[in-house]
Symmetry: C2
Subunit: 252 residues, 2 copies
DNA sequence: AAAATAACTTGATCCTGATCAAGAACTTCT
DNA sequence: AGAAGTTCTTGATCAGGATCAAGTTATTTT
């Protein structure tokens, strides 16, 4: 009992009902009693450090995981040694949904910084959802939302220019940080340019050049991983794909 | 009662237990009694004709749909009038999963040819899955599988060359036709070159040129929508992304 | 603190696949 | 059957972004 303070802090965070993320997370829309029941099957382990794997492709699937702090990259290792980054996940987000299918992880998940997670043993979750219609409903919604997000990403990769991709990427983080009570316009990205490029289907160099260009156009200020969005409305315009002419299109 | 024959034919197909697709479809893995219960909530309407919409983005979501014959294209209409084709669906495949999320269809689905579907009212399916763990399990699996397929598609669009994309596309149909008891090497594609290109993130012209090139290399024979795969192993090699040198790489 | 390594930026060049353009083959309509 | 509209193919050109190359700035190691 060397550090009682830390222990008691842990105790506060250790239940869904005291967790600030519960409105974003699995307990969303559940009654307090239901949250309590859900809480009883959740396991909270030690935090992961940067570079630790939460799971790897091929691992036996047993639990879904919710990020509670830090951030995680999911990726699918492809045959020829390379990888496709599938997503970057912030607190409150659920990962591992793709593994339900055949009881094996098809993707890998790695911590981008010190990261804590809640583990939800899937077989228990499944049993619980069988007797808790609201939880079952929530699960269907979350799975469906994941599908919806993937299809948005398909449009991004299939139809959008490099500029549109990076703007979309930045605004996605802006919105998600805002949801979590952080600044929508001033944040740190925990992944490298290389990882951003991989995720967006672009070369590192292209990503780097775009950051520079956006900065030159006063859309943002960037210094390494620290990003400050200076003109969010214009970034949204870029996302729309209105092939923006010169800043001021009024000539004559 | 003008045509008794047709009516009786319909009666044969009208139940899951008599449906040849049941091993691919929602009833997969269910006991006969459970299939019976599932069957009781399924609605079978008139067939759709080429160009008919099964639903449109924005429509209220009420049912999942399984294609029983024909084929369907799903797409998400994007702001600027264009569209992103999200998938081509064959008999046994379930569509509408993305709409569970917020009770509205985000995508549209259109028949590519005369197409019959089973409609499964989602609220009833949800209730039923609440009291039928095997059905709930099957739903989780199907939703998860959809996510897995989407992430494969992300890799395709993010990392693969035009050649790799078309080869992947063709082999996907080959496999799916085979699963359904049709030829893996001789089939008709029900969609246009334009739709293939849109789906694969390529221009129509590129798709057309690739068909020609594959034919020149004796990988397939193609005549309009009729495709015959002549060298499936080599197509798989292309998918792997081994940047194939000349046909015979043995020079000296 | 220096050295080694990794991450990022910037410039130059190249290439894949898009776009533009035109003709051919097929389908649909009357 | 002929006209009109699609869809597909093929050729020529163009461009967005990849790749190659080198230098700069951080970070980690010793």
């Amino acid at each position: 009992m060397t550090s009682r303070k830390v222990v008691s802090f842990e105790n506060i965070k250790v239940a869904c009902k005291n967790c600030s993320l519960s409105t974003l997370c699995l307990p969303m829309g559940l009654t307090p009693e239901d949250v309590e029941r859900l809480d009883s099957i959740i396991k909270r382990g030690r935090p992961y450090h940067r570079g630790d794997h939460l799971y790897r492709g091929g691992d036996k699937f047993h639990s879904l995981r919710v990020i509670t702090s830090g951030s995680v990259k999911t990726y699918s290792p492809n045959e020829d040694g390379g990888e496709q980054v599938l997503g970057f996940h912030l607190p409150g987000e659920l990962i591992g949904l793709d593994a339900i299918q055949d009881d094996n992880h098809t993707c890998s998940a790695i911590a981008l910084e010190t990261t804590a997670v809640c583990e939800i043993p899937f077989s228990q979750l499944e049993s619980l959802s069988s007797i808790m219609p609201s939880l079952q409903h929530q699960m269907y919604r979350l799975l469906s939302r994941e599908i919806g997000q993937d299809t948005e990403m398909l449009t991004l990769l299939g139809k959008k220019s490099a500029e549109e991709r990076l703007a979309t990427f930045l605004l996605s983080f802006s919105e998600r940080f805002k949801q979590r009570g952080f600044s929508a316009s001033d944040f740190f990205l925990s992944m490298s340019r290389h990882e951003i490029g991989n995720y967006l289907g672009l070369a590192v160099e292209t990503v780097s050049r775009l950051f520079t260009r956006f900065q030159d156009e006063n859309l943002l200020h960037v210094e390494r991983k620290h990003v400050q969005l200076l003109d969010i409305p214009k970034l949204y315009e870029i996302v729309q794909g209105t092939d923006r002419a010169k800043p001021s299109q009024s000539r004559i």
